[in-house]
């Protein structure tokens, strides 16, 4: 669906559903996933239909994914960081049970 313009530069590594994917420094999680051919960012909690970003500017909320264990994050408004963990959101947001589970 999308291809890079110009030659690739020093890229970062980000993880999507535990698989490593390349990311352009400074790009958003949404464009990183699109760069890597991801067409299903989430499935809706209403019907389970697959969704992908629609507007890319923070208005449509279709790009919701799980980022570092936190659900319902807008991928188009989150800039990638080296080693970031991103996951498909299947239906409703999961509840983070990581290190800060019980402060």
């Amino acid at each position: 669906m999308f291809q890079p313009i110009g030659s690739p530069e020093a890229m970062l590594t980000v993880y999507f559903d535990n698989l490593p994917v390349t990311a352009l420094p400074g790009e958003t999680v949404a464009s990183c996933l699109l760069r890597n051919g991801v067409t299903r960012f989430r499935t809706t909690p209403v019907s389970g239909a697959a969704r992908m970003p629609f507007c890319m500017i923070g208005h449509c909320f279709e790009c919701l994914v799980e980022i570092e264990g936190l659900g319902s994050r807008q991928a188009c408004l989150t800039v990638v960081r080296e080693g970031m963990q991103v996951a498909t959101q299947a239906g409703p947001a999961t509840i983070y049970r990581g290190a800060n589970y019980d402060r």
Partner: protein, 510 residues
Amino acid sequence: MTAEPRPDPSAAGTGAMPRDADVIVIGAGPAGMSAAVELSAAGLSVIVLDMNASPGGQIYRAVEANLNEGASHGLANALGAAYSAGQPLVAQFRVQSNIDYRPNTVVWELRTDGTVGWQQAGRGGYLRARHVVLANGAMERPMPFPGWTLPGVMTAGAVQTLIKASRLKPSGRVVLAGTGPLLFLLADQLLKLAVRPALIARTDGLGDKLAALPRLRPAALPALAKGAGWMANLRRVGVRTVTSLTHLEAVGNERLREVVIKAAGKTMRLPCDLLIVHDGIIPSIDLAQGAGIAMEWRPDDASWRPVTDAHGLAKPVSGPSLSPGPNCVWLTGDARTIGGADAAAAHGMHVGQTIAASLGAVKSRHASHSSPAKRYAQAMAARPFIDAAFPPGRWSVELGDATIICRCEEITAAQIRSCAQQGVTDMDQLRGLLRCGMGPCQGRSCATAIARLLSREFDSPLPMPFRGRPPVRPVPLGVLAQLQSLDPDLSRSEALDDKPDASSRGGIDV
């Protein structure tokens, strides 16, 4: 050279809370940047809040990065002179020393008394100023059609964002559909990036152009020439174009596989990897609506526009308000009325000057050679022609029953029609019954489509947007729990204490 920022000495106004700046500007696009530069040059303290990581808004997105390093990518050339023209303003915005610029900041509440709720990087709170300039821009006019929620359908603005900010361009079989200058600008940009659309399917036709001619003004001729140039280029290269599009459908299982198009009576099916749609842009009204600013429904534009005076001072709805007292919210740029980047920059400067004058602040440097009001009028001169030549919202006429209208809650046109047939034509009542507008986007993608459906097909009065209560954008519970800078008067815990006394005083037996 620049005057010291002047903090507000008085504690009066927003409760007894001190102000954080003279002016808060929401949005760092051309309008917001212009206003901020003008205000700070006049010696006022300015905080600029913006959702993105760098200034420029949508149109000048990533202009710094692309013009600095982008030469070898050919991006500047592909994106065109109008894009590069944004760089000086961004540079000026950056060097203006007393602008407190806060990127990656989401605004989730705006009040007419100058209070702004913000969040950034896991923290949030309130900021207060004597004036707020709301320059949060425009959004694409929602254009529901069968299959529009499929992966593989994106807006023209989305594709431009990917080009500018991520240096990604479409690949595979690309179809463009809809209308509006942005669609043709994008087509031109794609050609320059060696991407050749398989088809451009336009809802507008020659008839619209002819009907629009009486609105053509001399000042509009450059824009007209530019558009004509894009069209000529597309024709020369042989990109297939059809007009008078009456039906569009995206077909696929988990993702888009093909599009079905009916134009000028002819039906065609094309295999398609990416369907890029656009139906013009409309003001983004979420924050203004939440602040209680009056809205005007414009049937020909299938959109709401905030009501302001000529300078941009917003008009609150009549009746009770959360924050009594005079309104100090101003609107500028595409958030106020669609006009494009030049109009936005001019009006932003004008609002900055107007606010500065009202606060008795004087600009310490030379005034620009042409008044912003004149530049604004010139930039807006092309609008009547453009709006008539590319009329929006054709889709709702053919809105099939099975079409999803509310993407978040997956509510169809049939469900909405059924409710309306039973007499429910109030937007909020409809929302309560069907849940349309209750999802994460809070009606951004469905409200205008629903309003258009109701006003066209049912005997409903002028539609109003969904009642907007804060938060206008999602705020995590943990951020809310730690909000900074609360007004102690307002936040004094007023809760209903209905816990009964634990011990009995000889009461009634069961």
